[in-house]
Subunit: 191 residues, 2 copies
Amino acid sequence: MNPYIKRIKDLSNHLDSQVLTELEGGFVDKKFSKGSYLLRPGQVCTSHLLVRKGIVRKFYKHNDKEITTEIYFHDDVAISMDSYIMQKPADVFIEALTEIEITIIDYRRFDTVKKKYAEVMILDKMFIEYYATWFEQRLKEFQTMNASQRYLNLFEKEPRIVQLLPVTIIASYLNISLETLSRIRSRLASS
Amino acid sequence: MNPYIKRIKDLSNHLDSQVLTELEGGFVDKKFSKGSYLLRPGQVCTSHLLVRKGIVRKFYKHNDKEITTEIYFHDDVAISMDSYIMQKPADVFIEALTEIEITIIDYRRFDTVKKKYAEVMILDKMFIEYYATWFEQRLKEFQTMNASQRYLNLFEKEPRIVQLLPVTIIASYLNISLETLSRIRSRLASS
DNA sequence: ACATAAATTTGACGCAAGTCAAATAATCAA
DNA sequence: TTGATTATTTGACTTGCGTCAAATTTATGT
């Protein structure tokens, strides 16, 4: 696990029970079936979605082509950051790729607790810091790696994505065509 | 100006004087000549750099090729986010592209003030939120636009970059070659 | 002003990766 | 099992953009 995420988790586990109970008042557990949308463009993102079970992705459409920006597994948090922080309509979809179980963390409640307890504010800030550096890193991958390097990098850093998801989604996450991904794989297999 | 940045500025301007004086204790004004490095790979980023005058850029090297990630003008804040938040060695350069005057905001002092005053913590968080969504947006530009679209987009959204900086740097910011940029421009001029 | 260097443009060429189309392979329903 | 969808692979072709090299323009120092 990423060391910064680990730090965030460790801190979360040491929140005092007072804080925890207030926070948990804003939690709702829900299940969704494969193919459900948890957010669509135009809707305002009013919650963090904590994935407890299953796989979720975020993607946007550009000229009818789907571009997957993030893929979430157990313990990851799905959110449309710009919609959430500006409380403006999202331009992304958040979709269940399997049957899922998630915990929905309501914006307003979370906001109230953050304002009351500095340590929760700090945790939220750390989460956003992680989010920012993750995107910075991902941009760098697009700027410095070609298609097959991105594939190999993904295979190494996020093997679950390669192992568990259909080619269509892997390709859209790497921002390459289905055909190119297929060729990359066959070249790798034959060498 | 970006509306979120505007909100951050407005809030900054309404901090009470007590907070301001404590903050300003951690400010140092400095001048640097063109070509100076304010941060190099391997160094830990221990401050925010507020640009008061001149132009600054952040870039990294990949196989001897320079890739410019950000360009800062008056009132922008230069920082290596991942080095700063993890207090680990940076992998980027921060360079003065002109004579510059900057205000250096010390990490430790800022950290102390943040912990003491919630409104400062919130401002810092808002800054990071902006940083995150900016990178998300920039990644999207690389995923959806070709070289000339990126150039036109830059021309529209950041005209100063196109107007004030040499081709080398514009190209490295767009992540295209010098030659390609030159051809894009001549095609645009002749149509 | 002149020489030398640096920045920018232009030309020729190659290749990574996209598109369109067709062929297999895998999945699913009845 | 069989036929029908859907997913994946393979082939043929095109193209945007990179690289290398040379020409031209602009900047710099003495």
